[in-house]
């Protein structure tokens, strides 16, 4: 569950990115966070992942109070989250398998657990046959699937997809969104940040529209400005 109560965020340079946001995303929901560039979407993602702290207000993510989170507790919060980026952020010199296993390995998982889980997740995202390929040998859509597998590998409660289709053509974008929808159907909360109207309109999901640091709309179905 993600809950924002009267949240403000002003950066050190004086930019007011978030100007009083209240929202609640329940466990198991699929939510689109939409808005033009500079509206504050990315700041919301950074607040959820605790890359940034709110200037005012309260944020609770999967039981963690972001404003009061100690540095040493941040890894525990992040293990409940899976983050997907527009530019995939894969490690170039690691294979698909290694990229996914890496995310499990660095939180101290036992090699046996890794060997057991990675093939299952690669199967879920449809990349079993590409396990030993390097990222540069894959298409954009396939690279994003690897990123999704990596986000899923630690069994997070919430997936945050920050412009996941920004670098993909429409057909690949649909595939990725359908994959996220399938993951959501298995019980994982999905928060997809996008500014692509076509993507949002083709899914009947809750849409929270942000503009100038404020929520301007919160409805189900379609991109509402």
């Amino acid at each position: 569950m993600v809950r924002f109560s009267g949240v403000f965020k002003t950066y050190d340079n004086g930019v007011k990115a978030i100007k009083g946001i209240d929202m609640r995303i329940e466990d198991g929901e699929f939510v689109f966070l939409v808005g033009p560039s500079g509206s504050g979407k990315s700041t919301i993602v950074k607040l959820i992942t605790s890359e940034e702290r709110p200037t005012d207000g309260k944020i609770v993510v999967n039981g963690f109070n972001i404003g009061k989170l100690r540095s040493r507790t941040i890894p525990r919060l992040r293990r409940t989250l899976g983050v997907i980026f527009q530019d995939f952020r894969l490690i170039e010199n690691k294979t698909v398998y290694e990229n996914v296993a890496f995310a499990m390995r660095v939180i101290g998982a036992h090699p046996r657990q890794i060997a057991d889980r990675v093939p299952k997740v690669l199967m879920l995202v449809g990349l079993s046959d590409k396990a030993h390929a390097l990222p540069q040998e894959l298409s954009g859509g396939e690279q994003q699937r690897v990123a999704i597998a990596r986000a899923l590998i630690n069994n997070p409660r919430t997936i945050i997809a920050d412009e996941p289709t920004g670098n993909l053509d429409p057909a690949r974008s649909q595939e990725i969104m359908k994959l996220l929808e399938r993951i959501n159907s298995l019980g994982t909360t999905v928060i997809a940040v996008t500014h692509e109207r076509g993507i949002v309109d083709s899914f009947e999901k809750r849409v929270i529209a942000i503009d100038d640091g404020k929520i301007v709309s919160d409805k189900t179905g379609g991109y509402i400005q």
Partner: protein, 295 residues
């Protein structure tokens, strides 16, 4: 730390050294170069200090005994001289011994003493060695005040010269050591920074999936440790070769100088090189990676 994690850190640390081969090579070269410069200068400084200590020990005060005292009375003064502060050792030289020494010193010209059959032309004397030649003047004055001492000869110019050389060597070696240390740390931390910068994406991903800072840091620490220790070991063997070659050449050209054998100092040199390599490698990694962990 769990066993499988330790194995992972070691594997990742070693793998990273080969994966970033050029940077690892550069870091080792820099560590070797800095340790060689610091080591060479320290060994030169050590040899100069030894030579000065040697010169200090040979620098003596000669105190002449009053002519009017009997042989027994002259010998009795020794305890009074020993009681003077800063006196390390005292040797009584009788008239006869002084005459013989003088004759030996003159060598082929000893015939000049032929007319002086009576040794009583020379006085009983004491050769006095000091703990600290910087206090030579003060000590000489105190010895001159000992009852029964008539006159004191102290080579103040020589002692002042030795003191000046020693002080210059000491100050220059301190300044150079500090400068070279700062340069080493600066270059090494930049090398590590460059290596870490190349991996900032990897670190950011680790942070994003929930790796703890300690988990992220360990492979870098192991990498820094291995690079530092390998650099220290290579520097040690290079230093050995360079020193042995230089010591032979120095002795050939200036036989008065007799540098210590490397085998006499190799244990502290090895310990210092490995220790410095370890510290610089680990410290460089820890300090540099801190910046990249703030995500």
């Amino acid at each position: 730390m769990r066993g499988h994690n330790l194995a992972y850190f070691l594997r990742e640390g070693i793998k990273s050294i080969f994966l970033h081969g050029f940077m690892s090579f550069a870091a080792i070269c820099i560590i070797v170069a800095c340790l060689l410069i610091i080591g060479s200068f320290s060994l030169i400084s050590y040899n100069v200090s030894l030579a000065i200590d040697n010169a200090e020990q040979q620098n003596e005060i000669v105190a002449f005994v009053d002519d009017t005292l009997s042989d027994e009375e002259a010998k009795d003064i020794e305890n009074s001289i020993r009681a003077v502060p800063n006196v390390q050792d005292v040797i009584f030289v009788s008239r006869d011994q002084a005459f013989e020494e003088y004759s030996t010193e003159l060598g082929e010209d000893s015939f000049l003493l032929d007319g002086l059959e009576d040794e009583s032309v020379l006085r009983h004397r004491y050769r006095i060695f000091l703990n600290d030649i910087e206090l030579m003047q003060e000590t000489a004055d105190n010895i001159e005040n000992v009852p029964g001492i008539d006159k004191v000869n102290a080579s103040l110019e020589i002692s002042e010269g030795i003191i000046s050389v020693r002080n210059v060597v000491r100050i220059v070696s301190y300044i150079l050591a500090v400068i070279l240390f700062c340069i080493s740390v600066f270059i090494i931390s930049n090398t590590v920074k460059l290596a870490t910068f190349n991996r900032r994406e990897e670190i950011a991903i680790m942070k994003m999936v929930g790796a703890t800072n300690a988990f992220i840091r360990w492979p870098f620490i192991i990498e820094g440790f291995l690079l530092g220790v390998v650099g220290g070991a290579i520097a040690f063997f290079c230093q050995w070769g360079i020193y042995d070659y230089a010591a032979v050449k120095v002795h050939e050209y200036m036989q008065i100088l007799n540098p210590v054998e490397f085998t006499d100092v190799y244990i502290p040199v090895l310990a210092i090189f490995l220790g410095a390599g370890f510290l610089v490698g680990v410290f460089g990694s820890v300090v540099t990676i801190r910046k990249f962990l703030k995500v």
